[in-house]
Amino acid sequence: MRAVLENTTVRFLARRLAYTAVVLVGVMVVVFSIVQLVPGDPVRIALGTRYTEASYEALRAASGLDRPLWEQFVGYLGGAVTGDLGVSFRNGEPVTAVLLERLPATISLALAGLVIGLAVALPAGIYSALREGRISDGIVRIASQFGVSVPDFWMGMLLITLFSSVLGWLPSSGYVAFTDDPLEWLRRVTLPAITMGIVAGSIMTRYIRAAVLDVASMGYIRTARSKGLAPKVVTFRHIVRNALVPVLTITGIQMATMLGGVIVVEVVFAWPGLGRLVFDAVASRDYPIIQGAVLLIAVMFLLINLLVDVLYAVVDPRIRLS
C-alpha cells in the first residue's frame, strides 16, 4: 500500500516538475519578446538628452544590443540554464545577485502581509458565514468590499499620516533586515504589511465566507446535526475544517502575488523589494533585470502552486492526483 502511494506521489511530482520546466521556457520566450516590443530604447535612456551618435553606437555595442535578436535570445537561454541571467544594463551587476539581494525584503513583507491578511480573514470570514443574513454579516461584507476596493496607495498614505506624522509611533519608510534587527524590522514592516494585509485579507474573507456557507449546506452536515452532535463540534470539526481546503488555493494565490512584489506598496514605503526593482527596471528598460525578475516571480508562482497541490493531497485523501 505504502509503496503504491509513494509511486504515485513520485510520478505526480515528476510530471509536475516537467510541466513547470515547460512553462518556464514559455515564460522566457514571452518575456523576452515583450521587453523587445515595448517602445523605448534602453541606450537612449542611459545616455539622457545630450550625446553624440558615436556615443550611442559605442554603448549599444557594449550592451550587446547590436547583435541579431535570435542570437541575443539563444545567448540568454544558454546563460539562464546555468543560472547566469546576464548583467544589468544600469550598473553591470549580475542579475542573479541583484535579485537575491532584493528577495529577502519582499519575502519578509509578503509573509507579514499574509499573516495579517489571514488574521483578519479567518475569524471574519467564518463569523460572517455563521451569522449569514444578520446585521453583523452585513457589516463584515461591507467592510470587506471596502477593503477590496480601497486603493493601496491611498491606504498607505493614510497609515503614514496617522502613525508616522500625527502619532509619531512608527517610521514612514525604509527597511531593516530581520536578521540584522528583528525589532526594527517589525517596526518598519508593520505599515506596509497592514496595507497589503487589508487588501489580501478582504479578498480572503469573502472567499472563506463562501466556502464555509458552501460546506454548511451539504447533506453530511445535516446528518451530523440530526445525529445530535454539539453545534460547536459540527461547526469546527466538520464545517470549518472542510471549508479550509479550497481556501488553501486563494491563500496560495495571495502569497504568490505578494511575492511578486506589490509595486505600489513598495514604492510608497520605499521598501527595497522585487516590486520596486521591476518598477525601476521598466522605467529604464533594463531588459536583463526585467527578464530575470519576471522569471523569478514565475518560478515562485509555480512553486507555490506545486506546494498547494501537494498540500491538497495531504489534507484531502480523496483528491486523486490525475
Binding site: G40, R50, N91, E101, R187, V267
Partner: protein, 505 residues
C-alpha cells in the same frame, strides 16, 4: 460586542508597544559632530560611474564622493579644486593646470597628473556620453606629477565650466575604473567615501578624514531612496531623515509656515521649453510658431506645474545668472496670435503635443496649452508616453510640438549650440538660421567675456523671435531640511554639497 472592543484594544496596544520599542533615530553618543546626516533623494542612482551615468540621483551622491579640477561656487564662477591654479597661453590654445599636492584617493593611492590624463582620455576614447564637452581638446599631457597641459583646437572660453560644471567630468581612479568596480563602489578624492550600498534602499558615505579641503564635521551621509514625496516629508517631520528634495510642488505652500523644517527655495538654471517640429507643415512657418507663442498663457502653465514656485521666463537664462538678458517680446495676446495665423493662411491645424508621463508637470501643462491653442483654431492631441518612448519619438521626429526641460546649465554654449545650431546634437526641432549659427560659432571662441555675452544676447533674442524654442519658466530648486542642520544652502545648479554642513546641538 465586548470581545470585539477587546480585539481592537489589543491591536492598538500592539502598535503602541512597537512604537515604544523605538531604537531612537538620530541618537548620537559622541556629540553633534559624530552624527550622520540622512538625506532622502527621490530615486535610486542607475549606477555610480560619474563618466557613464546621466541620472541626477547619481550625481546627488557623486557630488560628495568626487572632485573635478575646478568647481563652481554659489555664483557659478569656477574656483580651484583639484587644480590650485591655471594659466592660459597668449594664443589661447594651451591651458596649464597646477595640481594640488598631497591629495589621496579613498583607497589611499596618491592623486597625480596621470589620473587627470586617464580620466579625460577615458571619456574621449570610449565615446562616453560627456565626450562632447571635451570636443575642443586635441591633447592632454602630464608634464610632471603635478602639472597637466591641455591643448585645444581653437580658443575655448568655456573650458573651465566644461571641466568643472558638474561631476560627469570627475577625476576617477584608474584601478577602480578599469576593474568595473566604479559602477557600484566608486573611489574618489572627495569629502566622503562610499561605505555601503544596499540596492533599492540606501547608500552610506563616511567622512574622509584626509580630505584636502579639511575633514567634514559630520560623520557621514546616508542617502535613502524615497520616491513618494509624502512619505519623504513624513520621514523628515518625524526625524527619520534630516534632508530631502523629494517634495511635491503642491505641498510647498503648506510647508512655508512650518517651523519644524527649513524650506530652501532657489530659482534654478534649469528651464522648461516648447519646441515645434520645423520639418513639418505648418510649423515650418515662423508666423504659426509665433502665434503659438502669443497664444499660450505662461503664468497659468507655471501655476499648474509649480504652484507659484517657478519664475516665468521668455529666454533660457534666469535672472540670477550673469548671462541673463532682458527679453519680453511675447505676452498672452490672442488677437495678435489670430492675426499671425491669418497672415500665414492657416485657419486651423491639428497638433500632436508630446509630453511624458514620467514628468507629471508636463502633462499638467499640456492641458493648459491645449486649452490656449483651441482659441486660435489649433486642435491639440496630447500624447504622454513614458520618458523612454518620449525620447524615441523625439529622435524620430514623431511630434508636432514637444515639452521638456534642460538641467544644470552653466555656460550658454552648453544650451544654445546643441539645441539651436544647425549642427547641434539636440536640435530635434530642426531649426536652422545661418545668422544664429554664425553668432554661436563666434561666441564659442570669443574670449572677452563682455563681447561673448553680447553675442549670446543677440543669438538668444533671434532664437526666441523665431520661436525655435518657446521658453516657459525656470523651476525652483526646492529642498527641505531639519533646523538642526547648519551651513547648508540650496544651490541653483542643484549640486547637493554636504562637505561643510554641521548639526547644532
Amino acid at each position: 460586542m465586548k470581545s470585539r472592543m477587546l480585539l481592537a484594544g489589543i491591536a492598538m496596544t500592539g502598535v503602541a508597544a512597537l512604537a515604544a520599542c523605538s531604537t531612537g533615530e538620530g541618537v548620537d553618543l559622541d556629540g553633534a559632530d559624530g552624527r550622520v546626516l540622512t538625506a532622502a533623494i527621490a530615486g535610486e542612482p542607475d549606477q555610480l560611474d560619474p563618466h557613464k551615468t546621466t541620472s541626477y540621483f547619481s550625481f546627488q551622491v557623486l557630488e560628495n564622493i568626487y572632485d573635478t579640477l575646478v568647481e563652481p561656487d554659489e555664483n557659478l564662477e569656477m574656483q580651484p579644486a583639484l587644480a590650485e591654479d591655471w594659466e592660459l597661453s597668449d594664443d589661447q590654445l594651451t591651458w596649464t593646470f597646477s595640481l594640488r599636492e598631497g591629495v589621496t584617493f579613498h583607497d589611499g593611492s596618491e592623486f597625480t597628473a596621470d589620473d587627470v590624463v586617464y580620466s579625460y582620455n577615458r571619456i574621449i576614447d570610449e565615446e562616453l556620453s560627456n565626450a562632447w564637452r571635451l570636443s575642443a581638446i586635441t591633447d592632454i599631457t602630464a608634464t610632471d606629477d603635478t602639472t597637466v597641459e591641455i591643448t585645444v583646437a581653437q580658443p575655448t572660453p568655456n573650458l573651465l565650466s566644461s571641466l568643472g560644471g558638474f561631476k560627469g567630468l570627475a577625476i576617477v581612479n584608474e584601478d577602480n575604473a578599469a576593474s568595473g568596480d566604479i559602477s557600484t563602489a566608486p573611489v574618489g578624492t572627495g569629502p566622503f567615501s562610499l561605505e555601503n550600498y544596499t540596492s533599492g534602499d540606501s547608500i552610506e558615505l563616511v567622512a574622509n578624514e584626509d580630505y584636502w579641503g579639511g575633514a567634514p564635521e559630520i560623520a557621514g551621509v546616508t542617502f535613502r531612496f524615497i520616491s513618494e514625496g509624502s512619505t519623504a516629508l513624513a520621514a523628515l517631520k518625524s526625524g527619520d531623515v534630516d534632508w530631502t528634495d523629494s517634495i511635491p510642488a503642491q505641498q510647498v505652500a503648506g510647508l512655508e509656515g512650518d517651523d519644524t523644517i527649513v524650506l530652501g527655495q532657489n530659482p534654478s538654471n534649469d528651464y522648461w521649453y516648447l519646441a515645434m517640429n520645423q520639418a513639418k507643415e505648418p510649423w515650418n512657418d515662423v508666423r504659426v510658431r509665433q502665434a503659438v507663442a502669443y497664444a499660450i498663457d505662461r503664468d497659468a502653465i507655471a501655476q499648474v506645474t509649480s504652484y507659484g514656485t517657478a519664475e516665468v521666463n521668455q529666454l533660457a537664462i534666469p535672472k540670477a545668472s550673469s548671462w541673463y538678458s532682458e527679453y519680453d517680446a511675447y505676452s498672452t495676446d490672442i488677437d495678435q496670435a489670430k492675426s499671425l495665423m491669418a497672415d500665414a493662411g492657416v485657419p486651423s491645424a491639428e497638433m500632436e503635443l508630446l509630453v511624458s508621463s514620467d514628468y507629471p508637470e508636463s502633462v499638467a501643462a499640456a492641458q493648459v496649452i491645449a486649452d490656449n491653442l483651441a482659441e486660435i483654431g489649433i486642435t491639440v492631441n496630447i500624447s504622454s508616453p513614458d520618458f523612454a518612448s518620449w525620447l524615441d519619438a523625439q529622435n524620430a521626429g514623431r511630434f508636432d510640438m514637444l515639452m521638456m526641460s534642460w538641467l544644470g546649465n552653466i555656460d550658454p554654449d552648453d544650451f544654445y549650440y546643441a539645441q539651436h545650431h544647425s549642427a547641434g546634437g539636440s536640435n530635434a526641432q530642426q531649426y536652422s538660421n545661418p545668422e544664429v549659427d554664425a553668432l554661436l560659432d563666434e561666441a564659442r571662441t570669443e574670449t572677452d567675456t563682455d563681447a561673448r555675452k553680447a553675442l549670446y544676447d543677440e543669438a538668444a533674442a533671434l532664437i526666441a523671435d523665431d520661436a525655435s524654442y518657446i521658453y516657459l519658466y525656470n523651476p525652483s530648486v526646492i529642498q527641505a531640511w531639519t533646523p538642526e542642520l547648519e551651513d547648508y544652502e540650496a544651490r541653483g545648479d542643484r549640486a547637493i554639497r554636504f562637505k561643510n554642513v554641521s548639526f547644532s546641538d
